[in-house]
């Protein structure tokens, strides 16, 4: 059969200009599938990363009832023992952080408003969430900071306050009373989303526990794993380990249902995009293949006269299409990978569209991410649908009788 392949390869170069045109269409189509697929995947990855970094982590452990009523009434006691049990179930290069997290009211001389008070172990938290690397003014918390507080840029602006000024926090303590305490602003952070800057204020865990009368108890344990897809398995192990205890283990997908829906939506978007690009490309393939078929109609007549079966004519034309598609796919993939990796070095900065971008929950910097499944899907769509649309001209060629075909000029 090697001669058949040989013949098909030579046939596609009989009209180099036409082959170049269709090859260009396939290359551009595949490139756009790979590159825009990587861009969409990058947007999703950015959204996931944002979600996970914004205090969610890959896996969270809460006391039962906390998710319905996030107050000091629901807390995890005996944290040292639980922390070591959790740590023993985690893969290497995982990190965890124990937090106090309650709703509070912040106020200064001019303003007041609702915030989420987060009491953290500064060193552990830096490995788990965005806060450790987001200080734009002042400094990050130290483990022994008793009255230091770190607030977001947007909150500082809203409260018309700055570093060194005091901020009063009020929240319900374990005795059901309103506890309040003054903290001094030591650091201001910047986050991807303005809502994060307005909502969260950070103090040390010991300061929060002392203020709320929680002793050593915490509200949640957040875990970050080396890979997103390890979350379900780790959560399952922890659920088994804590069976019978009043602890609830959730993954980031459960904690961020909107983001999970986005993920599924983006998967569909990417496939729809692939098909839309293919439809445009498919017309080109059919048109060009038809032209090539009609140009060689006498030859198909000859082949049939020599005794070639119609199915072999179909096979020959499909082989030619296969070569063009595969060459186009290889070049398109290469171009898509090079451009994706090129943009991945610095990322695509959407700061100019920051408000719109934030509204959509996207990162300000998009780093294209090429996923093997997208690459595979794009190539499969082009190859399978490309061969399918080539059937039409191939069958046209095979259906002529030898005499009809050889009459063609």
């Amino acid at each position: 059969m090697s001669m058949g392949f040989h013949l098909a390869w030579r046939n596609i170069w009989r009209n180099p200009r036409r082959t170049a045109v269709i090859l260009t269409a396939v290359v551009i189509g595949v490139w756009s599938m790979v590159f825009l697929g990587a861009l969409m995947r990058g947007i999703v990855q950015g959204m996931i990363q944002n979600g996970i970094k914004t205090l969610t982590g890959h896996v969270q452990i809460h006391p039962a009832g906390y998710l319905q009523d996030p107050s000091v009434n629901h807390r995890i006691q005996g944290i040292a023992r639980i922390k070591s049990m959790v740590a023993s179930e985690l893969p290497v290069r995982s990190s965890l952080s124990c937090r106090v997290r309650v709703n509070a009211v912040a106020s200064n001389a001019r303003h007041n408003g609702g915030v989420t008070l987060v009491g953290i172990d500064p060193q552990d938290e830096a490995k788990v969430s965005f806060i450790g690397s987001s200080i734009v003014e002042g400094r990050y918390l130290k483990p022994d900071d008793g009255d230091a507080i770190v607030i977001g840029r947007a909150l500082a602006d809203r409260f018309e306050t700055r570093l060194g000024r005091k901020l009063i926090l009020m929240a319900q303590d374990t005795g059901g009373e309103i506890a309040s305490r003054a903290f001094r602003i030591r650091g201001i952070f910047h986050a991807e989303m303005e809502a994060t800057e307005k909502n969260f204020v950070f103090v040390t865990r010991s300061a929060a526990q002392k203020m709320l009368g929680m002793d050593d108890a915490v509200s949640e344990i957040a875990i970050v794993l080396p890979a997103h897809d390890q979350a379900a398995a780790v959560a399952r192990r922890l659920q088994q380990r804590f069976a019978g205890q009043d602890l609830v283990v959730t993954t980031w997908r459960q904690a961020l249902p909107l983001l999970t829906s986005y993920l599924e939506l983006y998967d569909s978007f990417i496939m729809i995009w692939f098909v839309v690009v293919f439809v445009a490309m498919g017309f080109g393939i059919v048109n060009t293949t038809l032209m090539a078929v009609f140009e060689r109609m006498r030859e198909f007549g000859l082949l049939k006269a020599l005794g070639m079966r119609p199915c072999r004519i179909v096979w020959g034309i499909l082989t030619e299409s296969f070569y063009i598609l595969v060459c186009g796919m290889l070049l398109g993939d290469l171009l898509g990978l090079v451009s994706s990796w090129g943009f991945a070095i610095k990322g695509i900065d959407l700061s100019a569209l920051a408000q719109g971008v934030e509204y959509a929950g996207m990162s300000r910097i998009i780093i294209p991410v090429v996923e093997a499944r997208d690459l595979l899907n794009a190539n499969l769509v082009v190859l399978v649908l490309g061969l399918l649309v080539s059937f039409y001209p191939a069958i046209r060629a095979a259906r002529f009788t030898p005499v009809e075909a050889m009459r063609q000029t």
Binding site: M3, R14, R298, L306, G307, M308, R312, V403
Partner: protein, 230 residues
């Protein structure tokens, strides 16, 4: 002598615009194995149509056609393709070689369709090209060969599969008289050495002169018939 081609009451009508044209009318013809015969007649007399029908390239409207005792009416299009592949060779006026294949690949291609293995294909193709006087020109593409050489490749392609019949549609029409005569001598040699039946359609006097049997068609009917010894 056995009969290799038998046509009984063959009719063929074409539609030309709104007019129906009788291309063949009640043709009765028997061709003996090993013949070297020509179908002659003016343009539009039906000789190419008859050749195409004998070769299974076109279908008759009515009548019975048998080649090697096989009735065409009983054959599906796939079986007809098989028959053409193994029993019938074709030589066309315009050579009809595959332009992207070299001379030897053009000859090999028929054997490829027959499923002959590559070593045997190559050996047989070289042998046949040597026989038709194209030794040393195996790798030339059709565009690198003269008209006469291309037609020799076409003859080589037609006989390489050891067919029972070779049907040649005006094989000398595009050749000068010297080249045409040398091609006819080649085909006559093949006919004698290999006992292959040759049927030509022609209005070339030289072909008619070489033919052992001449069937003259006029307006789709057999008008005359001559037999001679070459």
């Amino acid at each position: 002598m056995t009969t290799i081609v038998a046509c009984r009451n063959v009719n063929k009508t074409y539609q030309q615009g709104k007019v129906m044209v009788n291309a063949l009318e009640d043709i009765n013809l028997e061709v003996a194995t090993g013949s070297f015969m020509a179908l002659a007649g003016p343009s539009g007399s039906g000789k190419t149509t008859l050749l195409n029908i004998i070769g299974g390239l076109d279908l008759a409207d009515s009548g019975d056609i048998r080649v090697n005792g096989q009735a065409y009416a009983e054959l599906s299009s796939a079986r007809m393709a098989e028959l053409r592949l193994h029993k019938i060779g074709f030589v066309f006026q315009a050579y009809n070689l595959i332009p992207v294949l070299s001379a030897i690949e053009n000859v090999e291609y028929v054997m490829l369709l027959q499923g002959v293995d590559s070593a045997q294909r190559r050996r047989k193709a070289m042998q046949i090209l040597d026989e038709v006087g194209l030794d040393g020109k195996y790798d030339r593409r059709p565009t690198e060969l003269s008209g006469g050489q291309q037609q020799r490749v076409a003859v080589a392609r037609a006989i390489v599969s050891d067919p029972s019949i070779v049907l040649a549609d005006e094989p000398t029409a595009n050749l000068d008289s010297k080249t045409g005569e040398s091609l006819l001598q080649l085909m006559l040699r093949m006919n004698r050495q290999r006992q292959v039946t040759f049927i030509f359609s022609t209005h070339d006097n030289m072909v008619m002169a070489y033919a052992q049997r001449l069937v003259i068609l006029k307006d789709g009917r057999i008008a005359d018939e001559q037999t001679k010894t070459v």
